[in-house]
């Protein structure tokens, strides 16, 4: 399962978003794929796979912000033509997915290092336990991914005409702050 985690964390960040971007700007896409992949390989050798996902996420967000919305409107110039950017925005979720996977891969490596340094463990038992852990994490993340798509589909198809986007944003912000405060209180009380 370690190999699966490593492969997914390594391949997902550059491939999906930048292949989508290649339709509108192939040269920039190729450069970005090369940069992220090389960072990924260095990270793999140094035991820090999350660096690639972070770089990919930051670059994707910069491209997205500089190519559509308020920033190009103010600056009167876009980094990349807006064709194909819709799919690019949607594919950022894949970078998030790989970012969480890479963090889990780091955890996996840390667990293995801890077990091997302490010693006394049965290798098969450790592998079975860690494989089960990774399987469940992948399952939960995939469920989460599918649930996100389903919710998005529901949100976009069943529109509520009475709520304008700004009100929706305010409702989201208030709900988010209330939930965050509740979680932070819970974390403090239990730690």
């Amino acid at each position: 399962m370690r190999q699966v985690l490593a492969a997914l964390s390594l391949v997902l960040p550059p491939v999906i978003p930048f292949i989508v971007l290649m339709l509108s700007s192939p040269s920039i896409s190729l450069i970005l794929i090369a940069i992220t992949l090389s960072i990924g390989l260095i990270g793999l050798l140094m035991g820090n796979l999350s660096a690639e996902s972070w770089v990919a996420l930051i670059m994707a967000l910069i491209i997205s912000v500089m190519s559509q919305g308020y920033v190009p409107y103010i600056l009167h110039m876009a980094l990349i033509p807006s064709q194909g950017l819709t799919a690019f925005d949607g594919s950022i979720i894949i970078i998030e997915y790989s970012l969480i996977l890479s963090q889990l891969y780091n955890n996996y490596v840390r667990y293995m290092r801890e077990f091997s340094s302490r010693g006394g463990y049965d290798k098969d038992e450790v592998n079975n336990a860690l494989n089960s852990l990774i399987k469940w994490i992948l399952t939960f993340l995939t469920i989460s991914l599918l649930a996100s798509f389903t919710t998005y589909y529901v949100i976009t198809t069943i529109t509520v005409p009475l709520v304008d986007p700004f009100t929706a944003l305010v409702i989201f912000a208030v709900t988010y702050i209330v939930i965050s405060r509740y979680l932070l209180t819970k974390m403090k009380s239990q730690s």
Partner: protein
């Protein structure tokens, strides 16, 4: 394990950042990027219950001999929670039990268990072999629980203290019986040359009182008659035969070999074997450790054997050079004229201490020299046809001993 809480932080911060980007780009597809970490966070929090962990450890015996096996059963029950549980059962590193036991069968004393949706009910068994005498405490069971995605709490670390202990008794196998040498020839009642052991009713003499004499033996009539007004006591013959005092060397040279196979361990086994056979024939047996350490005043009976055993269970070799004669031992030797047996490992380092001791002794002593050469060479040379090949000639050392050594 801060990495795990970093994931939680990431899941909390990502939707916020994505919401800002969504506003800046006016792209509704960013809703996906907001929803995904939020849903993952909800899943992580729903699985972050603290588990109820119950670990029970059973051993099949509490007293065993060296080389015997100790079977340990570990029952683990986990209810609630979702993550990894790491258990370390005895022997836990940095405890004395690690030195005294080795794992021989049944896998491991360390286990990693994945706790999924169902309750965990696991049973582990393993077998330890006792390799060194001693009183060992089981210590406890160490465990750490890591939640699957970190949850809302830190890793749960726990330690279940175990009150039970295991006593490992040295094997007694060298002297099983002594034929015709120590067995008393006299029938009962017999004359006892010993001045130790329980008092009999046979009157011996009247003498001056010395501190330690029982008050019930004060002869009041003789005390009243004494012109110097000294307290006089009746002296009675004591039961038992002669006294034997074993002097066990605890010098650093008694450690030559391995932790479980060295002159000290053989010396302890020999001392116990010899004591048992002498006590069986009614002798008074005492023990002194040199240069310093526990001592057992000579006495007879089965209880004395257990006194010796209790003291010998905890003795260790010490890096102390030189020897100062214990006045109590000197007085005892003068009073009872015991048979003295010195158990040591003679080499150039120990000869000085042994000579000092022998020079101070007012009587003859028998030296039993435990030669560690075979222990040392056994690990280096496999399949030795003859042990004599690796034992160095010690005649030079023996010649250096004083004349009262036997």
């Amino acid at each position: 394990m801060r990495e795990i809480s970093r994931i939680l932080l990431l899941l909390v911060l990502l939707p916020m950042v994505m919401a800002v980007i969504a506003v800046l780009t006016t792209s509704k597809l960013y809703i996906l990027s907001i929803l995904f970490p939020l849903i993952t966070l909800v899943i992580a929090l729903s699985l972050s219950d603290k588990p109820i962990i119950s670990i029970i450890l059973n051993t099949d015996k509490s007293v065993l001999y060296v080389d015997e096996e100790l079977n340990i059963e570990l029952n683990v029950k986990v209810h609630g929670g979702f993550g990894l549980l790491i258990i370390r059962a005895p022997p836990i590193p940095s405890t004395s039990m690690v030195e005294g036991f080795e794992l021989v069968r049944g896998g491991n004393n360390v286990h990693v268990i994945f706790k999924g949706f169902g309750d965990v009910n696991r049973r582990f068994t393993y077998t330890l072999r006792a390799v060194k005498r001693g009183n060992y405490s089981l210590g406890g069971i160490d465990y750490v629980y890591y939640n699957i995605l970190g949850g809302v709490h830190e890793p749960i670390k726990g330690f279940i203290k175990l009150e039970e202990g295991v006593q490992v008794i040295p094997r007694i196998k060298i002297v099983r019986r002594v034929l015709g040498i120590v067995k008393p020839r006299q029938g009962l009642p017999r004359y006892s040359p010993s001045r130790l052991g329980p008092y009999s009713t046979e009157f011996r003499s009247v003498r001056n009182y010395v501190p330690g004499d029982p008050y019930k033996f004060i002869n009041w009539k003789a005390t009243a008659r004494d012109p110097n007004r000294r307290i006089m006591v009746n002296e009675y013959e004591r039961e038992g035969l002669r006294t034997t005092i074993i002097l066990l060397d605890l010098g650093w040279w008694m450690r030559y070999g391995t932790v479980e196979d060295n002159p000290l361990e053989y010396g302890i086994s020999l001392t116990l074997s010899l004591s048992r056979v002498l006590l069986r024939y009614g002798y008074n047996v005492g023990l002194w450790t040199i240069p310093m350490g526990p001592r057992v005043i000579p006495s007879s009976g089965t209880t004395q054997y257990y006194r010796l055993l209790r003291e010998l269970m905890v003795v260790k070799a010490l890096p102390i050079k030189g020897y100062t004669m214990d006045p109590a031992l000197y007085r005892l030797i003068q009073e009872t004229d015991p048979a003295l047996i010195i158990v040591t490992n003679m080499n150039t380092e120990s000869i000085g201490t042994i000579t000092t001791l022998l020079n101070k002794l007012p009587s003859r002593a028998l030296i039993i020299d435990i030669v560690p050469d075979t222990i040392l060479m056994r690990s280096l040379v496999k399949g030795l046809p003859c042990n004599q090949w690796v034992i160095r000639n010690r005649m030079k050392l023996y010649r250096a001993l004083p004349r009262n050594a036997g």
